[in-house]
């Protein structure tokens, strides 16, 4: 079983729709929960992150973490064609890499297309 599971999609929605992207995980030591956005042929960029459980909102994006269910979500409201990308969830425990830094465990990514 993978530590982090993510539906690869593709997910196609009309412009203006609410999008829900999800990941499940098995490692209860994870405390940081991140969402990265990756445009085609580009590197991932951090969209937002949450520490432990709860919600976090940033403009049209809302991240939710349910540690009891080991389930995280990213909601995109009023989706735009510019949101078309692959969305990667990533997680990290408190324990850092030897000498420093966070060890990130990534999901496989969900490909999203927002159509006009």
């Amino acid at each position: 079983q993978k530590e982090v599971e993510q539906d690869p999609g593709p997910l196609s929605v009309p412009e203006g729709a609410i999008v829900s992207l999800n990941c499940t995980y098995s490692n209860s030591a994870f405390q940081y929960f991140m969402w990265y956005r990756q445009y085609s042929r580009k590197g991932p960029e951090l969209l937002m992150y949450t520490y432990s459980s709860g919600n976090k909102e940033d403009g049209r994006f809302t991240a939710q973490v349910d540690k009891s269910s080991k389930y995280i979500s990213l909601f995109i409201r009023d989706s735009q064609p510019s949101d078309s990308a692959t969305y990667l969830c990533a997680m990290s425990a408190e324990i850092v890499l030897t000498g420093g830094g966070n060890k990130l465990t990534f999901g496989t990514g969900t490909q999203l297309k927002v159509e006009l």
């Binding site: 940081y32 580009k42 960029e45 520490y51 030897t98 420093g100």
Partner: protein, 115 residues
């Protein structure tokens, strides 16, 4: 700031050849990382460095080597290329924090095809 830069963008190698993937950052970040991204597999950590002269293995280090002689540069060396090393390689960097999560900034990637 250019951020994290990687060269080359794309390369085709024959089995057994060697090459160096270049990575540089101009943000004065101490931490640097190399990942590979394979379809359906997510990003996997190959090697990382917490400062000049200090490197350590990640999840999938076999077949690769790194060095970190300066804060800015973190090259990844493939000595004997194998088809299993066909992948997209990403370099990332981050700044240490006293506590919490440090944000990793990624380069644009190098696509490598080994035939």
């Amino acid at each position: 700031n250019a951020g994290v830069t990687q060269t080359p963008k794309f390369r085709i190698l024959k089995i057994g050849q060697s090459m160096t993937l270049q990575c540089a950052q101009d943000m004065n970040h101490n931490y640097m990382y190399w990942y590979r991204q394979d379809p359906g597999m997510g990003l996997k950590l190959i090697y990382y460095s917490v400062g000049a002269g200090i490197t350590d293995k990640g999840e999938v280090p076999n077949g690769y080597n790194v060095s970190r002689s300066t804060t800015e540069d973190f090259p990844l060396r493939l000595e004997l290329a194998a088809p299993s090393q066909t992948s997209v390689y990403f370099c990332a960097s981050s700044k240490p924090r006293d506590r919490g999560l440090e944000t990793q900034y990624f380069g644009p990637g190098t696509r490598l095809l080994v035939l």
